[in-house]
Symmetry: C2
Subunit: 424 residues, 2 copies
């Protein structure tokens, strides 16, 4: 089969007719499928049901540094939970803050803290117009937090080994209004890219023009492998130390996609100075987070090995789904020359660049045939994908047979939209 | 015994000697007692242990409006939890937002939301200097939130039936910079005062100079009776409706002192307009709160009757403690004419006004004898009690024998400080 771009108009029109007929058949089936959000499937959440049996009325509620996890006390979490995240993130327990159920909320709080209190300089909200760098495509909820606080967003292209570091260095080191950057360094949302050692080292060695510049290092998928050849990410704190730059990074993680979304625990890893900064906000914001749920997690997993054994079970469920998506992109679309994508070794998404100028149309066609995708543009700040090309596929939630049907609709829609566009 | 103020210097010096000797004996005992925070005792948290057995791996995780409480979805909570708080707060379930484990955090978020987004007007943080009214004595953490956001605090005296409403009306209705007021309308922290029907009606009928004026109605102790003759609080939303003022109030409550501090659930009751305002923030802040913990609470209590039966057990534990404190104030201190207090029918505190100018000294004397009290001044904005007189006693945490000893130290310290002051 020739690529669509190389076909003449008559051949395209013939192709269009065939595609439109096939599409009409799917539409007639009245499907209701969803590949929109990075949501674990029911079989995945079932994996963690045992955690609900672990803390009972008979539990010993006194832990190493908490006289009673049921009562007030301990703003930054119990030591057992700090140790667990310290192992996961390869830092020291004294660099860990354990929060509530949501790392997104911890990021929102961190930006809020920097807006209100600043980081050793004037509070960000007193400094006039400030900017954040946003590697694109990226995570819509990161962009949402930045937009909520009125911070201007600057797109940074993603290469196959991470953000374009020439551009990052140029902007961070020359413009004092650039206060931060969003990073998902391992299995990035949506592309599944893991930053190379060189990229991590260049981040750690930044000499920002703004003294209060901070990297938001959202390590959401730190242990979320889906491949037998998982990626390795360099520990940025080790690299920061070499540069005396430990205060430049706030790292985030959670068990939302380890145990239960919404009922997990979330953590921040940061230097002592940065934890002290956050403390200025948290002492006003809350008396403390749910220590019983922290205990539930530490009793259930015990240590990193326990967590990793659990993640293997997630992998067993997720790998066939990701394989299916990649196989279909490969076999159904690649030959037409209308898509590009990166095959991820972990994370929750497959990022597909469809034929330029057709992403919104593909999402619309899918929707009309009963398949919900993340909105086109959602992976860009302000919802504006300049090429109208990127679509984030989330293969985790639907059962595999539904995923197959949804992907059939997606592939058909991608082709249909490309041919429509070429016909003009 | 004559009052200290009526005694001559020689008699005072003699009294001082006796008191100092008695104090030295307590000091020599090396006590370590705490009456500082409104923290339930271990026997109280034990009451709720059963809630930890109610959600297990065998639970049905599908509820009326949640396909799976373990997974993402439902920013404002499950309907079952909304109904429970709707019963407690006597409002409709559609006026309820269920948050995380902390009503303080919900209040912090609400103020943050009004600072960033405003309430139909310019965001508060774009309006220059703004003010909050603070009935005093009051709750230090309320004052902390206001101070965190740089809002000026104005003291409002508390009468025996609530805040001085003449002053509230005068300030709210004349000054557009007055944006809000903190209220704990039932069993106020620290005095245990419940607002009279007239006070509630006057609040509901306010005609604020600022269109974006909001009452923070922290109903923390709505069901926390400790007496057989509990107070009744008028439902402010009913009164607001009569005045077309439903948007003027955000009400807060939690189960922190019903089940577990830190592992309970918290709620906001507000008009649809106000919930929509909050939604503008919460959609950026989080994906949702812990629905499993919501389910734990609704399965355990079932309804308001279940909650009230549970609160009766708390009352059985708390009543003897409060009785002890009141008896000791009455029998050990009253005759000397150096204290005043209100006997509370519920809540978590007894607020004592010691001899003017001696509160800090009393707290210091207690501390040196091993009894920790809330810091003097903590019940006032900026930690400044103009009369240096108010001390908040929290009788709930210590076992009753320890409470008795702590109160002996307190009474002795109050006398010693008063006599010291009078001797000059």
């Amino acid at each position: 089969m020739p690529t669509y771009s190389s076909m003449d108009k008559d051949s395209l029109k013939e192709e269009y007719k065939k595609l439109a007929e096939a599409y009409a058949e799917y539409k007639a089936r009245g499907l209701s499928l969803n590949m929109a959000r990075g949501k674990p499937g029911s079989d995945q959440v079932d994996l963690s049901n045992g955690i609900l049996d672990i803390v009972t009325s008979k539990t010993n509620f006194k832990t190493e540094d908490s006289p009673d996890v049921r009562n007030y006390g301990g703003l930054d979490g119990i030591i057992e939970a700090k140790r667990l995240f310290a192992e996961i993130l390869e830092v020291s327990p004294e660099n860990i803050f354990i929060g509530g159920n949501s790392s997104l909320n911890l990021m929102f709080d961190t930006i809020g803290c920097l807006m209100e209190n600043g980081a050793g300089c004037e509070p960000w909200n007193k400094q006039g117009r400030i900017k954040f760098l946003c590697p694109v495509p990226g995570y819509d909820r990161h962009f949402g937090v930045t937009e909520y606080y009125g911070i201007e967003m600057v797109n940074i292209p993603m290469n196959e080994d991470g953000p374009d570091m020439d551009m990052v260095e140029e902007l961070v080191q020359s413009d004092p209004a650039v206060k931060g950057i969003w990073c998902i360094p391992k299995y990035s949302n949506p592309q599944g890219i893991t930053y190379s050692d060189e990229v991590v080292r260049r981040f750690a060695a930044l000499k920002p023009a703004a003294k209060d510049f901070r990297i938001m290092w959202d390590n959401a998928y730190v242990i979320h492998d889906i491949s037998d050849t998982p990626d390795k990410l360099l520990n940025i704190f080790d690299e920061l130390k070499k540069n005396g730059n430990e205060d430049m990074v706030f790292e985030f993680a959670s068990t939302s996609k380890v145990t239960f979304p919404g009922a997990g625990i979330a953590a921040i890893a940061a230097s002592k100075n940065n934890l002290a900064l956050l403390n200025k906000r948290y002492t006003f914001q809350t008396i403390g987070y749910d220590k019983i749920n922290m205990l539930r997690h530490t009793m259930y997993f015990k240590n990193l090995d326990g967590v990793l054994a659990h993640m293997q079970k997630h992998k067993n469920i997720l790998k066939p789904k990701f394989d299916l998506v990649i196989d279909m992109l490969e076999n159904e679309l690649k030959e037409y020359g209308i898509i590009s994508y990166v095959k991820p070794n972990g994370g929750y998404f497959v990022s597909v660049n469809v034929f330029e100028g057709t992403a919104a149309r593909v999402v619309q066609l899918c929707k009309e045939a009963g398949v919900i995708l993340t909105g086109a543009g959602a992976t860009y700040p302000y919802g504006k994908d300049p090429k109208d090309s990127n679509i984030r596929i989330a293969p985790t939630y639907p059962p595999i047979d539904e995923l197959k049907t949804a992907m059939e609709v997606f592939c058909l829609s991608a082709k249909l939209a490309a041919v429509e566009k070429l016909i003009g």
